[in-house]
């Protein structure tokens, strides 16, 4: 499935035809076939889950990371079987290197694969007429990008993951650099250098991680993620080592997500990228960063996540939520506005992830999916508007609801999904992320939740200025058509999914449940060993008692209510409940 788009791309390259429609249709059919395949896989997985029924839910997943479907093929083997042939590298490491082609699917990758293949179809449909130059190359780039993304989500081998992770850069670089806007060269270069420099540090971290682990516990497959995670769960690394590795790994992921202050490549790249590029960039590519955290940092370096990850990442993502929202508020360019809203949304995502509990992580994964759907759809719609009016400036647009009612309805709907109105998808993810964080560290959740207010503010300002009020459009655009069938097909599935996930999120949650549980169990175990929970609870109780005694002394007053740190007393009330 992963290589289907790549095969399509190669075919396109070999049989490049002057007929642009041929390459379009080929690309469309290839992407549709990919979508079909991934749907089949998802359905297969769902039926498997149903067959196992309660068993799978009850049965404990052994490794923190474990794919449910796997495909492995050794492609570079320096391990012992070859070591007998006197390969020095292998002897030095005791066991040796074995690069595996280890692809697999777990709940997380199923969701991400579905998202990627769906958004690619939409991206191809939306580029149908807007791309007129070097059409074949364009679709080749899109399909290669899809392959890279699918590969990264499905890789269960560290090296393979990294290869795919980096591989996505190349097609996107060309997409932005060749088919982008006025400043495309600058944007593409900056985007490339920004992310590349980050991921080089990540590579360093990965290498160090593998060497460290294999010095401790020699593994037969030193790069296999499930085996690594199990080995590290049994014999955790020293905390300071973990912290170093965590910082190294997160360098690349933080830029990819992006967390403030590493975000400035994003608005630029989005604005300059062609619509399809923006859709895939926001919808899927950013998730490589979060998935990186989820796949590598959380299961392999749990102690570092607790010690450094929570304060560092949670602070940055809280800042990101507010900062992104404020940035969006100040924008005149719709596309830039949506780009900044991405920063805010990814903040929620990371906040939930580093709650390190079931609610938070599930919420975070859901938020990844939601953000892909709603922001992807937003970019599609912005692209349609740009195609019609050749401007994205809110100062030049107004009252579009009268001119292009159907696009406007879609826009309003997606904006509501994006701002987290209950009943649509955004709410579920935000709610779970914040709830998870509130359980773990209330203060971050409280500050983060204020982003919900700002989110409504900037999106409604967008609607108010661009779509309501008297009509204001650039000259000579009075008779632009409303949504075309092709565009409707691109947007409609996303909107339907937004509604479906909002009304009935259970299937999605069931898909990721085993994986989340596997991850979370790790943290529950770790917390007790690392932090001596009892001590913490004891201090918390002491604090709350102190507060109570103070209250008795000073007499209870209504104003004191807000001043009491909620977290301090939380553990004590747990005792009451149980």
């Amino acid at each position: 499935m992963i290589f289907l788009p790549a095969v399509g791309a190669v075919l396109l390259m070999i049989f490049r035809s002057s007929e642009t429609s041929v390459s379009r249709w080929t690309a469309l059919w290839v992407s549709l076939a990919t979508l079909g395949l991934s749907l089949t896989l998802a359905a297969h997985d769902a039926s498997n889950m149903n067959q196992q029924g309660g068993v799978s839910r009850a049965s404990t997943q052994q490794n923190p990371v474990q794919p449910r479907l796997g495909f492995r093929h050794t492609w570079l083997d320096f391990s012992e079987s070859h070591a007998n042939k006197n390969i020095p590298v292998a002897e030095r490491y005791g066991r040796g290197l074995k690069l595996e082609f280890y692809l697999g699917l777990d709940g997380i990758s199923i969701l991400m694969v579905l998202l990627t293949s769906l958004l690619t179809v939409s991206a191809i449909l939306i580029s149908w007429e807007s791309v007129r130059e070097r059409v074949t190359e364009y679709y080749v780039c899109l399909l290669i990008l899809e392959t890279g993304l699918l590969g990264a989500f499905c890789a269960f081998d560290l090296v393979l993951f990294y290869i795919f992770f980096e591989f996505t850069l190349i097609p996107l670089f060309f997409l932005v650099g060749i088919w982008g806007g006025a400043q495309r060269r600058y944007a593409a270069t900056r985007f490339f250098i920004y992310t590349l420099s980050g991921s080089l540090v990540t590579l360093l971290g990965l290498v160090m991680l593998i060497i460290q682990t294999n010095q401790q516990i020699p593994l037969s497959n030193p790069f296999s993620l499930p085996e690594l995670s199990r080995a590290l769960a049994e014999n955790p690394m020293h905390v300071s080592m973990q912290v170093t590795l965590f910082l190294a790994l997160s360098a690349g992921f933080m830029i990819k997500v992006p967390l403030v202050p590493f975000h400035t490549w994003l608005p630029l790249a989005h604005v300059e990228a062609p619509t399809a590029g923006s859709v895939l960039l926001a919808g899927v590519l950013l998730k490589l960063g979060t998935v990186g955290f989820l796949r590598l940092a959380l299961p392999l370096l749990p102690d570092a996540c607790i010690q450094v990850g929570v304060p560092l990442i949670a602070t940055l993502s809280t800042i990101g939520i507010i900062y992104g929202a404020l940035g969006a508020l100040a924008q005149n360019d719709i596309k830039r506005l949506v780009a900044y809203s991405s920063i805010s949304h990814l903040g929620f995502c990371m906040l939930g992830l580093f709650a390190l509990n079931a609610a938070g992580i599930s919420g975070s994964i859901l938020q990844m999916l939601n953000h892909g759907l709603s922001t992807g759809a937003l970019f599609l719609l912005v692209g349609m508007i740009y195609e019609r009016y050749h401007t994205r400036q809110l100062t030049e647009l107004g009252g579009l609801a009268q001119k292009i009612p159907l696009i406007s309805v879609a826009m309003i709907f997606i904006c509501f999904a994006s701002m987290g109105v209950p009943g649509l998808n955004g709410f579920v993810g935000e709610f779970l992320s914040l709830l998870g964080m509130f359980e773990a560290h209330p203060i971050y959740a409280v500050i983060g939740a204020s982003g919900v207010i700002l989110g409504a503010w900037y999106l409604l300002t967008l609607l108010q200025r661009g779509f309501f009020g008297p009509v204001k459009i650039p000259p000579h655009t009075e008779h632009v058509p409303d949504i075309q069938l092709r565009e409707a097909i691109a947007v409609l599935p996303l909107a339907v999914l937004c509604l479906w996930i909002g009304v009935y999120p259970s299937p999605v949650m069931k898909t990721i449940e085993p994986d989340v549980n596997g991850l979370v169990r790790q943290f529950e175990r770790d917390r007790t060993t690392l932090f001596e929970n009892q001590n913490r609870e004891a201090t918390a109780q002491a604090v709350s008692k102190e507060i109570q005694s103070q209250r008795h002394q000073h007499g209870a007053s209504a104003h004191a209510v807000t001043q009491i740190p909620v977290g301090a007393a939380r553990s004590s009330d747990r005792d009451i409940v149980r």
């Binding site: 409280v446 209510v561 409940v577």
Partner: protein, 680 residues
């Protein structure tokens, strides 16, 4: 048989309007067109009939009318042993489980609905008023290009509101809490081509979001405290609440105050009331239904529903009462000087909501008063829904005939032209002013009685005395401004604005009939269910409410409020009809006070200066920071290699002598180093 019927029936109450909304949204324009209102009315009629069944089956006997056999529908009766108030014979709850919405870790949230006495009352109020308003709107909105869209959003609202009161857990409550806000947004911004409507819609949603922020945090705190979000697990366990309140009261305080912040947003309490007057940009039927009768009372419903939590935090209840009092007074003062008829009514709504919160807060006087206080608040909510709806719809009828002019300075003396509207407005105005024996009289009496009971409390007695005075002053102001509006509109010389055309007309039957029905209710409903204690006894069956004491009529309070109401009406008559009092002279004499009231105490401006401007500034600052700090820093980092390269560039100047020189220098350094190493 009946149970099975009720299980689906309960779902049909919100389901029928939802179906109507879906039909209208999908096929409205193409298929229904001008018949859209029929779909909506049909849906709401179904819900109304079923709500009535729920209401009356709850009335039959106090106890379970539902068998225990069925899995899904069960009669849950709980025992209350805390607080020494004893068991008060809880009524049956219709309960029906839908599907599992979320299941993550320990968190398990289902789409489950239930109906108890309080829900039944709310349901009946909501569906009845909705039905009448929908019929009215069928005439009022006639000919509007967005006709199907209006009724689609209208049906969606009725669905959301029904689900809001039927919700069986806090998250579902929150979901539909926001959903009604969404419908309100869509309907305020219905005429989206007007910039003012679009701005008002946004303002309503964002201000509501501020409240929702508190509500959401309250839900989080409930979750971390109780480990569940179901009503049964939280409100249904008074013993647990009492234990938590004893050991860590700050948790209960936190929950209650956060929930109240949510209620302040939705129910337009000071200082979050600023959205409601602006919301009058929406079509008048919307103002009547959403922004007067139903949605804005959701906050009152929520606080009343959470009474088991609130009785453990008297401090918060005092805060509620204080904020309610401030709201009631401030809004009434503003209403005195507005010239926009709908705005007068909007501020009056804010003021009356303040009254309801005053009542809820007066429960601070002790747990034994809680039920009385809640009953007073819910009763006022109930009667207010009718008389405020009739007032708004009459105002809509006036607007309809005056060519959408709503400024009371531009028309007058409509008594003869629009007799039905005049009569209905008068009925509503009398009820609102608290004219003896009309519905507003009974419910307002209850609130004032609850407050006067609270004045006997040793700690908060003085505060409640002040609030009691505020309530009376507000009641006087209410009577005055209501009749000011009435006299300005319907009395005096006949005047029409040019927009009205040549023939200002009475409302068509589709609009007049619902007006008559609502007017009838606002005249009589209070007398039917108030002094007969029908309402109080019914509401008492709500599980979670502590048992109430005896109900008796408060003659002293009734006397005072009669005097107050008549006094207010008399003053208004004297000022605007009899012209015994020179009102303009008075206004001039008040000078700055008058301007303050007319300018709504500059609250919008204060909000703008304190909240909107700084945030906008901060937003700009963020952008500048991005552009001039982060990007400069990046350019700097990016430039370092180039500088490095540039620094090395002169070395490669291509001149052989300079290369030789450098080589020679290097050789000397190396030799020196080796010698040093040798020497040790």
């Amino acid at each position: 048989m009946f149970e099975n019927f009720m299980e689906t029936g309960l779902w049909l109450i919100p389901g029928a309007p939802l179906l109507a909304a879906a039909l209208l949204a999908l096929f409205g324009k193409a298929f229904f067109g001008e018949r859209s209102h029929q779909v909506c009315i049909a849906g709401i009629t179904v819900s109304l009939l079923l709500s009535l069944i729920v209401l009356f089956s709850g009335m039959k006997g106090g106890h379970a009318s539902v068998s225990h056999g069925d899995e899904n529908v069960e009669a849950v009766s709980q025992s209350h042993t805390t607080l020494g108030v004893g068991d008060n014979g809880l009524s049956a709850i219709y309960k029906s489980n839908g599907y599992e919405w979320l299941h993550v870790g320990d968190l398990r949230i289902g789409v489950d609905i239930r109906a108890d006495a309080m829900t039944a009352i709310m349901l009946t109020t909501v569906t009845l008023v909705s039905l009448l308003v929908a019929i009215f709107a069928g005439g009022y909105m006639h000919g509007d290009p967005g006709y199907p869209r209006f009724f689609a959003a209208f049906s969606l609202f009725v669905f959301s509101m029904c689900m809001l009161v039927l919700a069986n857990n806090f998250l579902l409550l929150f979901v539909f809490w926001e959903a009604v806000g969404l419908c309100s947004y869509l309907l305020i911004g219905f005429w989206f081509t007007r910039p003012s409507a679009a701005a008002a819609a946004k303002k309503a949603f964002v201000v509501n979001r501020i409240g929702d922020f508190g509500f959401l945090l309250g839900i989080f705190l409930i979750w971390t405290t109780f480990g569940t979000l179901d009503y049964e697990g939280v409100l249904g366990r008074p013993d647990l609440i009492a234990r938590i309140a004893a050991t860590s009261p700050e948790l209960i305080y936190g929950i209650t105050i956060l929930l109240f912040i949510g209620a302040m947003g939705k129910s337009a309490q000071f200082p979050l009331h600023v959205w409601l007057p602006d919301a009058m940009e929406g079509p008048t039927p919307v103002s009547a239904l959403i922004h007067a009768a139903t949605m804005v009372t959701a906050g009152v419903y929520m606080v009343a529903r959470c009474t088991p939590l609130y009785i453990h935090s008297p401090e918060v209840q005092v805060t509620i009462a204080t904020i309610g009092g401030i709201t009631a007074l401030v809004a009434a003062l503003i209403a005195l000087t507005q010239f926009d008829l709908k705005r007068v009514l909007a501020y009056s709504t804010v003021s009356q909501l303040g009254f309801m919160f005053l009542a809820l807060g007066s429960a601070a006087a002790g747990a034994e008063f809680a039920t009385f206080a809640v009953t007073a608040a819910m009763f006022h909510l109930f009667t207010h829904a009718f008389f405020k709806a009739v007032l708004f719809l009459s105002a809509g009828s006036v607007m309809h005939s005056m060519g959408d002019v709503i400024d009371m300075r531009r028309f007058g003396g409509l008594k003869r032209v629009m007799p039905t509207t005049h009569g209905c407005f008068l009925a509503g105005a009398l009820a609102l002013a608290g004219f003896p024996l009309l519905s507003g009289f009974w419910s307002k009496d209850d609130i004032i009685a609850a407050l006067s009971q609270a004045t006997h409390h040793e700690t908060y007695g003085t505060l409640f005395f002040v609030l009691w005075c505020i309530a009376l002053i507000t009641a006087l102001l209410t009577a005055f401004y209501t009749f000011r509006a009435y006299f300005l509109t319907f009395h005096g010389p006949e005047r029409f604005p040019p927009e009205a055309g040549h023939h200002p007309h009475e409302a068509p039957p589709a609009m007049a009939q619902p007006l008559r029905v609502l007017a009838f209710f606002s005249l009589t409903i209070g007398l039917i269910v108030g002094p007969t204690t029908l309402f109080a006894h019914y509401l008492e069956k709500t599980p979670g409410l502590p048992a109430a004491g005896e109900h008796h009529l408060h003659w002293d309070v009734m006397l005072i409020s009669t005097v107050v109401a008549l006094g207010g009406i008399g003053l208004a008559y004297a000022a605007y009809v009899g012209s015994r009092v020179q009102i303009t002279a008075w206004a001039n004499r008040m000078g700055s006070m008058y301007r303050w009231s007319q300018e709504r105490f500059y609250l919008d401006e204060i909000f703008f200066a304190l909240l909107v401007l700084p945030l906008r500034g901060l937003a700009q600052l963020c952008l500048l920071f991005d552009r001039y700090v982060i990007d400069r820093l990046l350019d700097f980092i990016g430039a370092v290699p180039r500088w490095f390269g540039r620094g090395l560039q002169p070395l490669q100047n291509g001149l052989v002598p300079s290369y030789l020189l450098v080589m020679f220098g290097g050789l000397i350094v190396m030799v020196l180093l080796m010698m040093q190493a040798w020497a040790g």
